[in-house]
């Protein structure tokens, strides 16, 4: 169903010791989100506080905090994974320069027949680099939202781990597989947590994040050459 994308598939260099120390730096608490936002190329557009009202004295609030903190910990991990992966992915080429001969002596543009049928649309493979940047931006928004929900429920958001071990992916395929595994882990966790959250609106908030991760997974699968929608139900099975 897919047609060839514009990306080459070069073998990527393995992470050097310098890159590993960068990884360590990126994943340290405090600095991680800011650097990740820079890699994503976006800082302000993603901040969207949750408007779900949670009563911190309600029964089940403590368990909700535990569940939400578990999701937050995984979101931090995914931010670290995307932050590490983006520099390893082939960057898109710059747009082609405009042709020089655009003056009086330029050849006339080809005539376009307005009645000619449009060519059939092709499902193009997304650029892995652009997809990872987009998804990182969204992971940052998820973190903001989860932190807001945890505070509303009377809890304290967990902090990111000081270091995440993602191994040493060498090829574009390996980098994308790492991201895909990360998204699958998130899907399983949201799938497990969503029905257990106590107030119904909180389940809706979690479902909205779960569905966004399902989109990430689908697009990564498309880039990896896997069926993008493997099932009619997105579950942990």
């Amino acid at each position: 169903v897919v047609s060839g994308g514009p990306e080459a598939d070069p073998t990527l260099p393995s992470a050097s010791s310098g890159e590993r120390s960068r990884r360590e730096l990126l994943t340290r608490a405090g600095g991680a989100l800011g650097v990740a936002a820079l890699v994503a190329g976006c800082t302000s557009k993603v901040a969207q506080p949750s408007n779900v009202h949670i009563d911190k004295n309600a029964q089940g609030a403590a368990r909700d905090v535990t569940l939400l903190n578990a999701l937050l910990a995984l979101e931090y991990r995914s931010i670290a994974a995307y932050t590490d992966s983006i520099p390893l992915l082939p960057q898109p080429q710059s747009p082609p320069e405009k042709p020089q001969n655009q003056g009086l002596f330029a050849p006339p543009p080809k005539a376009v027949n307005p009645n000619a049928p449009a060519p059939a649309l092709k499902l193009m493979i997304p650029l892995a680099y652009a997809a990872a940047q987009q998804f990182l931006t969204q992971e940052l928004a998820h973190v903001n939202d989860l932190k807001g929900l945890i505070k509303q429920a009377g809890g304290h958001p967990v902090k990111p781990d000081p270091f995440y071990d993602f191994g040493h992916p060498k090829t574009k395929q390996e980098v994308l597989m790492l991201l895909h595994r990360t998204e699958e882990m998130l899907l399983r966790s949201y799938h497990h947590a969503t029905p257990l959250l106590t107030p119904a609106p909180l389940r809706g908030a979690a479902a909205a994040l779960f569905a966004n991760h399902a989109q990430h997974s689908s697009i990564l699968r498309l880039v990896l050459g896997l069926p993008p929608i493997p099932s009619a139900f997105v579950s942990s099975e």
Partner: protein, 150 residues
């Protein structure tokens, strides 16, 4: 509603191979969603509604003027957004955790379909395929999504 949208798009006879494959997948998934919901309603001893014989006028209107692949996909996207909204509301409204989980599973499936329809319309642009960090759908039929020319 989604089966109707898929059927109308296929009946047009102007879908390219990729669009046709995706619409057939959407149609097959919609049938599975309906079957699962019917099973769950039966388990709850609630009679399932028969297939609606009347499709909402807004949805009929969407497909009365489709004349090419792009307009068919745009109509499907708009229906997809409505369906997403219904499942998102259901996920946050059910008190039975199992039903809430099922609604979330179907919402996520709809979100994937939405992403691929957008990817098809926008040459695989991931910023169009997954533009927002939250998937909540649309309560009403929104403006059609434009496609970039090839």
């Amino acid at each position: 509603m989604q089966e109707y949208a898929a059927e109308k798009s296929l009946d047009l006879g102007k879908l390219g191979p990729d669009a046709k494959e995706l619409v057939l997948l959407i149609q097959a998934n919609a049938k599975q969603h309906v079957a699962r919901l019917q099973d769950d309603l039966q388990a709850l001893r609630v009679p399932a509604r028969p297939s609606p014989t009347i499709i909402p006028q807004d949805v009929v209107g969407l497909f009365s003027n489709i004349n090419n692949e792009v307009s068919a996909l745009q109509g499907l996207l708009q229906v997809e957004s409505l369906v997403e909204s219904a499942y998102w509301n259901a996920a946050g409204a059910f008190h039975d955790p199992r039903l809430s989980q099922l609604a979330a599973e179907i919402l996520a499936s709809q979100a994937q379909q939405w992403a691929l329809l957008e990817a098809l319309l926008h040459r695989g642009d991931p910023t169009k395929a997954a533009p927002f960090p939250y998937v909540r759908g649309a309560k009403t039929i929104s403006k059609p999504h434009t496609a970039i020319s090839s």
